[in-house]
């Protein structure tokens, strides 16, 4: 295959590492200069730290630059230029789109886009969709509410940019979306892992087997960690008879990581971002594979609402694979975003990541897709309740399933759980971001 058939941009995607790092340094210096000149928020942050853009001469110097986090963005907004406040780095007349974060962790962050920044969003997604194999012959269905959140908007425009035929399935309900996908023979779609599984469930209730009766070959999974949880990915791929690709991004950051067809981990889109990993407890920089930490990320060419050394709280780790077989030189993460630093919590003295529970539940075929974890305190002792559903065909084997679940949970998470078995279809279903993990200890 010719490079231009394999990569959206063979020049940047196969750039030798040394050159790529030079490129990243120059890009970092450029955006730092831009914010210093144009954003009162960033200028004040850097002046208070005694930092001037000229101080950054090497990639190591970047650690001198103060980090930002979501609470700082929230504090800076809500004043003139309204509503974006002092982070806005272009004249407000240049803003052509309004977005906001989902507000899952509090007050939403307002996000302005200029025409140029919006082109950037579509461009960055195009790298990912092309890597998944989206081409101009694909008919891509968007079963997404086209809301005030950024979600799959950029995916829509990126698919258009690649030349795909894009079908906006906005106001339809799930049944209507599935029937439309069947009717027009859509070959690809994009959704959260929760909704991908939920759609398969709904299709089966309609008497359809998504793997046989529809025409889907590629699915882009974004918005939740599911596609990087092997058991969840397997369920999605088997249900749809299609390849599922993990895609990561956030409103403040933009799209920053994707899987290639080798599916050996998540490629960081390093021509557009600089990713650092920091130890969650000590803050020390992690450069070697095998150690998890929190992501600190800089976006290079998004100018209206810049994102510099943003502590995203996404938990990631570098992969030991030095060069992916796909030929891209962009560094790989092992297992994608494995959780959020906010969600990783100590239960009974043990560090627990909710994705580890998901991996266990979804690796047991007798259990349904849905589950719920509730952490409470009984006296001084933590208690974890895990609610699961047994698939109706296996109800008679409940005690054997329970035994398997207890063993696997103990093995993979090192903890004991109060298990609750519910009838299939009775636990909550979600359309977008699922809330399956509830820590009620501080609220009691």
């Amino acid at each position: 295959m010719k490079p231009e058939e394999q990569y959206w941009n063979p020049v940047l995607e196969t750039l030798p590492r040394e050159k790529l790092q030079q490129f990243q340094l120059k890009k970092f210096q450029n955006i730092l200069n831009w914010t210093y000149e144009n954003s009162p928020f960033y200028r004040s942050l850097y002046k208070d730290a005694g930092l001037e853009p000229g101080d950054i001469k090497t990639l190591d110097d970047i650690r001198k630059v103060p980090k930002t986090e979501k609470s700082m963005l929230r504090e800076a907004q809500g004043v003139e230029p309204y509503p974006y406040g002092s982070i806005l780095s272009v004249p407000i007349e240049q803003v052509t789109e309004y977005r906001q974060t989902s507000g899952t962790t509090g007050q939403p962050v307002y996000h302005p886009e200029t025409w140029q920044d919006w082109e950037w969003s579509a461009e960055s997604w195009a790298y990912a969709l092309y890597a998944y194999g989206y081409r101009d012959y694909d008919r891509v269905f968007l079963p997404f509410g086209y809301s005030i959140n950024i979600a799959f908007w950029a995916g829509h425009y990126a698919a258009e940019k690649i030349g795909c035929e894009v079908v906006p399935g906005g106001v339809l309900d799930t049944e209507a979306r599935i029937l439309k996908m069947k009717e027009i023979r859509a070959t690809a779609f994009m959704a959260t892992p929760t909704y991908i599984l939920g759609m398969a469930d709904t299709a089966r209730k309609l008497g359809l087997d998504p793997a046989k009766d529809l025409y889907i070959k590629k699915i882009t999974a974004a918005g939740e960690p599911g596609a990087c949880v092997p058991a969840t990915k397997k369920r999605m791929e088997e249900a749809w008879g299609a390849k599922v690709y993990d895609q990561v991004g956030a409103t403040e950051i933009g799209h920053w990581g994707f899987e290639c067809q080798a599916q050996a981990g998540l490629h960081v889109l390093e021509a557009f971002h600089l990713v650092e990993i920091e130890d969650i407890e000590t803050g020390a920089t992690i450069t070697e594979p095998g150690k998890r930490g929190s992501m600190v990320i800089t976006t290079f060419d998004r100018f209206a609402h810049p994102c510099i050394r943003f502590d995203s709280k996404d938990v990631i780790e570098w992969s030991p694979v030095e060069r992916c077989e796909c030929g891209r030189t962009f560094r790989l993460l092992k297992g994608g975003v494995v959780g959020r630093a906010d969600d990783i919590t100590k239960v009974k003295g043990v560090l627990l990541a909710p994705t580890a529970i998901e991996e266990v539940v979804r690796d047991i075929p007798e259990l349904g897709d849905e589950y719920e974890v509730i952490v409470t305190k009984r006296g001084d002792i933590d208690d974890i309740a895990l609610k699961v559903e047994i698939n109706p065909d296996f109800k008679r084997n409940a005690s054997a399933i329970e035994q398997k679940l207890v063993q696997q949970l103990r093995l993979k998470t090192g903890l004991r759980y109060s298990l609750e078995f519910h009838d299939y279809g009775t636990l909550p279903r979600y359309d977008v971001k699922a809330k399956r993990f509830k820590d009620l200890r501080h609220k009691e």
Binding site: K2, N9, P10, V11, Q116, W118, E119, A271, F272
Partner: protein
């Protein structure tokens, strides 16, 4: 990657595109139908810079 691309030549064409678009806006007399379409062209030109032109700058350093 074995294939060599003419990144320097492409970067020069991108520069000319940008220069032409900016010049068009300068002489538009404020016609919105020109200015707003030039803004969109410049947004696309910026993507060409990000993909090709900015790397050529590194190569020439």
């Amino acid at each position: 990657m074995v294939k060599e691309y003419k990144t320097g030549d492409m970067a020069e064409k991108i520069r000319l595109l940008k220069q032409t678009a900016i010049e068009l806006k300068r002489i538009s007399g404020g016609i919105q139908a020109v200015d707003r379409n030039v803004d969109r062209i410049l947004a696309s030109v910026k993507m060409l810079e990000i993909n090709i032109g900015d790397l050529a700058d590194i190569n020439s350093d």
